[in-house]
Symmetry: C2
Subunit: 406 residues, 2 copies
């Protein structure tokens, strides 16, 4: 074999631009802290500690002897269970309006590719779920942010800002409701306003509603499916991950009454053959999960939110509006560089043998420079651990400010 | 809410272009045949009937009570099991060279996006695995085919054809070895020739080796990882689907020693959070699967191949070279339009209460008009069913030719 000298091939620019996880840089620091014997409270991740319902896990005993492909759009049984779930919410969605996806992630991916060409734009409220960057990056789509602020509880900015973000290449608005990372639950009026904006400008509304059940103080999440004219422009991203504390099974769905979008997503789904089969088996148990489960989870998370909201609110210089849903919020801290603070917490600080890992918020913004003094906090730990984490942060902030001369 | 009249948004051209499954049109015909009481032998799909090893399925009993996210690149245990598997093949691949993917499909997707920009080109031997069209479509990549022919056992065409397919936008060669749909096992010399071609022109070699264990008559599959200069341009796509008859779990991997490609694929993997967790649990049982399993599967498939090869070879006008690997082959039939023949088999014909479903080969070609008289046959049925299927085809072909005036 002759192999004349040649330039080694290089990866693509779009692969180069693909963002790495904003907390990845912190992971080795957390491991080092643990290695020093420091207990690390993880407020940085959205992995719930709640058990996956036993009636779901038990379905695994029924796995076939051949773990075979399922239909690309999902097993009829799984799709029927989705239909039943949506019927309880008041939405009548049939098998041609529901498509099984590999987590909510794949539903975002399918929606993005179904709605856009390379070079198109999507409008998104920032701060936003950082992985939208990844899907936009793959699709060659530029995210045009409209800014929400903590003072306003991260509710929607005025219509004029949406208008200002429009361009001839705008194809969709991507809304996460209830919101990750801010915990904001948009009101019905807000959802209607976004819907009317999309309608007026011929945009798709991609509504990521995976935290639908996680709403507090008697709130209700408004699904974009409830918009009276939603048939041809609304695409809902859904997932079993948070609803049933089953993040690892990777199962979700795309729900839309737009037949072209559904057909396009199904063609993409055929390309990857099928969604995870064991996950679809587990999902069948969801039919047996009673309303008590969701209520119990809601009560537990509301308690956790209260512990953190009250605890952090008492720390001088910390600002956060009361979170309304999901299990995250974005807090402003009396620091100049939350990345530095997050690293310092892991590397240079401990309080009574413990420290805290938080997610710096800059990765949740598209506008450079924003979120530098903010962190995303996830409350997926039990109440005692959250109280301990608050103590750590209360001790850490004055010390950090002193060390950095703030 | 005011909703002034607006044009409803339309799906993207790239979504419109996304091909639908080539056998999808035939599915309702197969269902109708079954409804008429006709037994349908499925030679159209690659879903093995072999049991997933019990030692793998049994791992499901160890599922945790919280079905949590796994690391984006795979659990350390799964990645270690991949390492161990590759070590047995003679390749030393560490955790920075292996990445867990959601089936081999996602590995193709990651490789495609890591290597190309929208508008780039990939060279592929046709006929090829039809779902490459889907991943290329998402990535905006044009597949440039070089043609293999049945007379040559679908082995590689001369170098000059690869040269002719080159353009300034060529970024990679996508090779499936052993080949789906042709069953061809490329010789070491052929793999080296493709490697040298890639090397000379600065292209990546994406080598889809998911049928590695399915080789007959004492052949060995040559992994592109064995190319002596493979470190910076070889990307291997792998999957547990066929190896352990576990298609439905959706677990595979991307293997490459190119650090940039690995890092880019990991960033894409972080975007979708994690590969299926239950699948990774099942995969741990693969460590306990002895060499007897692969040998037994190989013996069984070789027997099946022989039954089909001999049986079909005796039907006048049918041409196929002896298949060397995988569990497919492409056969030429004495028909003008295999799509029409496949539909006719399901709608207008039965022999002793049975008929056969085959995959028309035109969907496996990029060049319009090619493969019109060919079908892909999968031999994933037991030997008795295959013999019965041969009888059906032997009775069907003269009848079809007569009816169509051929």
């Amino acid at each position: 074999m002759t192999t004349p000298a040649a330039v080694a091939p290089r990866i693509s620019e779009r692969a180069r631009r693909m963002p790495s996880s904003p907390i990845r840089r912190l992971m080795p620091l957390a491991e080092a802290a643990r290695a020093r014997g420091v207990r690390v409270y993880h407020l940085n991740i959205g992995q719930p500690d709640i058990e996956t319902p036993a009636c779901m896990r038990e379905k695994l005993a029924k796995a076939e002897r051949v773990l075979a492909y399922s239909p690309s759009g999902g097993t009829p049984e799984y799709v029927a269970s989705l239909s039943a779930y949506y019927r309880k919410l008041g939405f009548d969605l049939g098998p041609d309006e529901l498509l099984a996806t590999t987590g909510g992630s794949e539903a975002v991916l399918f929606a993005m590719f179904a709605c856009t060409e390379d070079g198109d734009e999507a409008i998104v409220v920032e701060p936003f779920y950082t992985n939208y960057n990844s899907f936009a990056g793959l699709a060659g789509v530029t995210l045009r942010p409209v800014r929400a602020t903590g003072e306003n509880g991260f509710h929607l900015p005025p219509e004029s800002e949406f208008e200002a973000a429009l361009s001839p290449r705008s194809r969709l608005v991507l809304l996460c409701n209830p919101n990750n990372p801010t915990g904001t639950v948009y009101t019905r009026e807000e959802v209607e306003r976004v819907g009317a904006f999309c309608r007026r400008h011929g945009l798709f509304l991609v509504s990521d509603e995976v935290y639908r059940e996680f709403v507090y103080d008697g709130r209700e999440a408004t699904s974009a499916l409830s918009l009276p004219d939603s048939d041809d422009f609304v695409i809902v991203v859904d997932s079993l991950s948070k609803r049933y504390s089953a993040c690892g099974i990777r199962l979700g769905c795309l729900a839309t009454r737009n037949r072209d979008v559904h057909a396009a997503a199904l063609r993409m789904a055929q390309g990857r053959l099928s969604p995870p089969g064991l996950a679809q088996l587990v999902a069948l148990g969801a039919n047996e999960v009673g309303p008590d489960y969701a209520r119990g989870v809601q009560v537990e998370y509301q308690k956790r939110r209260d512990v953190l909201f009250e605890g952090l609110g008492r720390i001088p210089g910390v600002f956060l509006a009361k979170p309304e849903g999901a299990f995250y919020f974005v807090a402003r801290l009396p620091v100049k560089d939350a990345d530095d603070f997050a690293a310092w917490l892991l590397s240079d600080f401990s309080h009574e043998g413990a420290t805290v890992m938080v997610a710096p918020a800059s990765g949740f913004y598209a506008t450079p420079g924003l979120g530098r003094d903010e962190v995303r906090i996830a409350y997926v730990l039990n109440v005692d651990d959250l109280r301990a984490a608050v103590k750590v942060l209360a001790a850490a902030l004055p010390r950090y400010r002193q060390e950095r001369g703030l």
